[in-house]
């Protein structure tokens, strides 16, 4: 069985990233957009892990960075969901177009 190489992982990571970007730019539902953001973050995580494993196997920097990103992603999700809930309470909707007036 073939061992996956660095390029495979980078390919998956890039795919995940662009799927996330596409989802973030096209979805109108805030929850889905949040999920897309998580995809983007995870593609970055995968990148870190891949480079750590294949370029500097003796070191752990990439792993640590990934742990940090996961922690931040969790915090971000908490904040984002709180905002979304508040938006829902005031607008009875979680459509991103209803949030336009926040620019004022």
């Amino acid at each position: 069985m073939m061992q996956p190489g660095l390029y495979h992982l980078l390919f998956i990571s890039a795919a995940l990233f662009f799927i996330g970007v596409y989802g973030f730019l096209t979805r109108r539902n805030l929850i889905t957009m949040l999920m897309s953001v998580e995809l983007i973050l995870n593609s970055v995580n995968l990148n870190f892990i891949a480079f750590n494993k294949y370029v500097w196997p003796q070191r752990l920097d990439g792993v640590f960075f990934t742990v940090f990103v996961i922690a931040i992603a969790a915090a971000e999700a908490a904040v984002a969901i709180a905002i979304i809930i508040n938006l829902y309470r005031s607008h009875q909707s979680i459509d991103v177009e209803n949030a336009e007036e926040l620019k004022y």
């Binding site: 957009m33 991103v96 177009e97 336009e100």
Partner: protein, 645 residues
């Protein structure tokens, strides 16, 4: 020795009166303001006479020469050891004479106004202004320092402005007060520059030091001041000429006289005080104050004084013959008489017999104050009675106003130089001084004296003779004691002031000057005066067609004199057409288009740009994300392919 406190109180009492009446007049002293002001001035006048008496007869003379005393000196603003602005009092023959004139005429005007201004809405304000003026004028004549005199100079300007515009609900009075202020202010610019030039070269502001430094032949200051020149004229001549421009503005000398006739919009007693007897002679006083410098070091500047004075004297006398507003006739007459004083100074020299012009000028200032104040107050009584300023509304008033009539006649005779009245003596001296030193000016003066007699008696006959006056409505005759007493006192002055041996007291070098009196010399002026009087009598004693016919036969001259030789129009042309179109308009254009344009351009451009880019902030999160993404990609590409390394 003089008592400094007594002298300082002479100006300070009116100042106190001004503060008292100005601050509390409207509430507390609504009706007693006049009495309070008059009493304060009475004390002031008493002190002035006491001081002048002491100076002339007691302590002023040392070895038969009148000294310039400085009884009070206070360093006010000290810039460095040598340069400071002091406040001081100078006591010399002319200032001693002036404080008497100012306080006496001012007192007369105060008393007169008790009757004239009675029932006026702003009665207490009026007296406050009068006190302010008296304070400023006394301060001016007592100044020991050229900068101090400048301060008081502006103060009299302000009080004159306030009093001309006293009837502030009349647009003409407001315009006149503005005109007076602006014209004299414009002239004062010259005065200020002159002060700076003189003090720059002499290194002092103090009159005594300044005169001493700029007259003694061996002083280095004088040599530099004469040696340094600008446009081919020495700095000293420039400085003195500029100072004289200030004096000419205040004294209504041609061509800066245009404010004086309009200043007659003020209450008549004010015209008597400010625009006849005191403030307008400030210019003469200033030249007299600096006379040693003029005479000894800058004869060119002195000849300017002589010429301007002579031109003004003749010019104003011609205009006075055609005016119909009695106060304007008197205003032009004032200008003409001040011209007399100016050229008398101008033809004078320093020291001994040659200084006759100086003495004569001061003498005329003294007598003129008496009879001109009397004429104005008399005119005030007439206006009070007729309620009009125009000669055409008057005539035949001699029975209605007997006291005014007699006193007015005496004043007219006095100013016309009728023998044995005050004006005769002072005018003779001036003519004699002119005769000795300058033939052209002598002839001008002679013609002017004939014209003076003519226009004064034209005025007299038009008011008191001519047609019969039909009284209408209620009338009150001469007016009360308050109005008649000053007339009588001033009439006494106008008759007897000439008997004072003035040369004994006032002369260029302080030594007594015997004025010789030649009977033969007086024949020409007296004859001309009589011709003037008789012509006026022939034309105006009875109502007839002769004046109109005469005016028609001299149509060109008459018309231009009637329109004051179009000087006002010339000023309007210069200011409105020339200055306005050639200077103000381009300046306004530059300001509006270039200066404002730059500012507006900045603002408009900023607004324009923000208008265009404000769509970027749409509030659509996903749009922002696209910007972010695209920018990140672009940056990445740039980093990879362009800014590598």
């Amino acid at each position: 020795m003089p008592n400094a406190i007594n002298i300082a109180l002479i100006p300070l009492l009116p100042l106190a009166g001004f503060l008292l009446l100005g601050l509390f007049g409207k509430k507390i002293f609504k009706n007693s303001a006049g009495i309070i002001g008059t009493l304060i001035l009475l004390i002031s006048a008493g002190l002035a006479i006491y001081t002048a008496y002491g100076y002339f007869f007691d302590y002023g003379k040392v070895n038969d020469v009148y000294q310039k005393l400085i009884p009070l000196k206070y360093t006010w603003l000290e810039f460095s050891k040598d340069v400071s602005i002091d406040m001081g009092i100078i006591l010399d023959p002319i200032s001693a004479m002036m404080i008497v004139v100012v306080t006496f005429v001012s007192l007369m005007v105060h008393i007169y106004s008790l009757g004239y201004m009675k029932g006026e809405e702003r009665y207490s304000t009026y007296y406050a202004y009068l006190s302010l003026f008296t304070f400023s004028m006394l301060g001016l004549v007592l100044s020991s320092n050229i900068f101090q005199i400048y301060i008081f100079w502006e103060l009299v300007g302000v009080s004159s402005f306030l009093l001309i515009g006293f009837y502030y609900d009349r647009p003409s009075a407001v315009a006149a007060s503005k005109k007076a202020f602006i014209v004299t202010r414009f002239a004062d610019l010259g005065f200020l520059i002159g002060i700076l030039v003189l003090s720059f070269y002499s290194g002092t502001l103090d009159f005594n030091t300044l005169i001493q430094k700029l007259t003694s032949p061996e002083s280095s200051e004088l040599k530099t001041a004469i040696a340094s020149s600008f446009l081919g004229v020495s700095a000293l001549t420039w400085g003195l000429t500029l100072v004289f421009i200030g004096g000419a503005g205040k004294s209504a000398m041609f061509p800066l006289h245009i404010w004086l006739p309009d200043a007659m919009e003020g209450p008549t007693p004010v015209s008597a005080l400010i625009h006849a007897a005191t403030m307008v002679v400030a210019g003469v006083y200033l030249v007299a104050r600096l006379f040693p410098v003029f005479a000894l070091s800058a004869p060119d500047a002195l000849s300017i004084v002589a010429n301007v004075g002579a031109i003004s004297a003749l010019f104003a006398a011609i205009i006075a013959c055609t005016q119909t507003d009695i106060k304007r006739v008197l205003a032009y007459s004032t200008m003409s008489q001040i011209g007399y004083m100016m050229f008398a100074l101008g033809v004078s020299k320093y020291g001994g017999e040659d200084g006759l012009g100086y003495t004569a000028s001061m003498f005329h200032l003294f007598t003129h104050a008496m009879f001109k104040a009397l004429l104005f107050l008399g005119a005030g009584a007439v206006i009070h009675y007729v309620h009009s300023n125009d000669m055409k509304d008057m005539g035949g008033l001699r029975k209605h106003l007997p006291i005014t009539h007699i006193t007015f006649l005496l004043a007219c005779l006095s100013i016309a130089g009728f023998p044995l009245l005050a004006g005769f003596f002072s005018k003779e001296e001036i003519l004699l001084a002119a005769y000795q030193h300058n033939a052209v000016i002598y002839w001008i003066a002679l013609i002017t004296s004939g014209l003076t007699a003519f226009y004064m008696f034209r005025l007299y006959f038009s008011i008191f003779w001519n047609k019969a006056y039909h009284a209408h409505g209620e009338h009150h005759g001469d007016g009360g004691v308050a109005m008649m007493l000053p007339l009588l006192l001033l009439a006494a002055g106008a008759v007897f002031a000439g008997y004072i041996p003035f040369g004994h007291f006032v002369s260029t070098d302080g030594k007594p000057l015997e004025s010789e009196f030649h009977l033969s010399f007086s024949i020409a002026p007296v004859a001309l005066g009589l011709i003037g009087i008789l012509t006026a009598m022939w034309l105006y004693k009875n109502e007839n067609e002769k004046p109109a016919k005469l005016a028609a036969s001299l149509s060109g001259l008459y018309k231009s004199a009637y329109h004051k030789f179009y000087i006002d129009e010339l000023y309007l042309f210069v200011t409105k057409k020339v200055l306005f179109n050639l200077v103000a308009r381009p300046a306004a254009w530059f300001d509006k288009t270039v200066v404002d344009g730059l500012v507006n351009f900045t603002g408009n451009t900023t607004q324009d740009i923000s208008e265009r880019i404000k769509g970027i902030q749409s509030g659509k999160v996903q749009q922002y994300a696209i910007y972010f993404l695209v920018s990140a990609v672009v940056l990445a590409l740039l980093f990879i392919y362009v800014w590598k390394g």
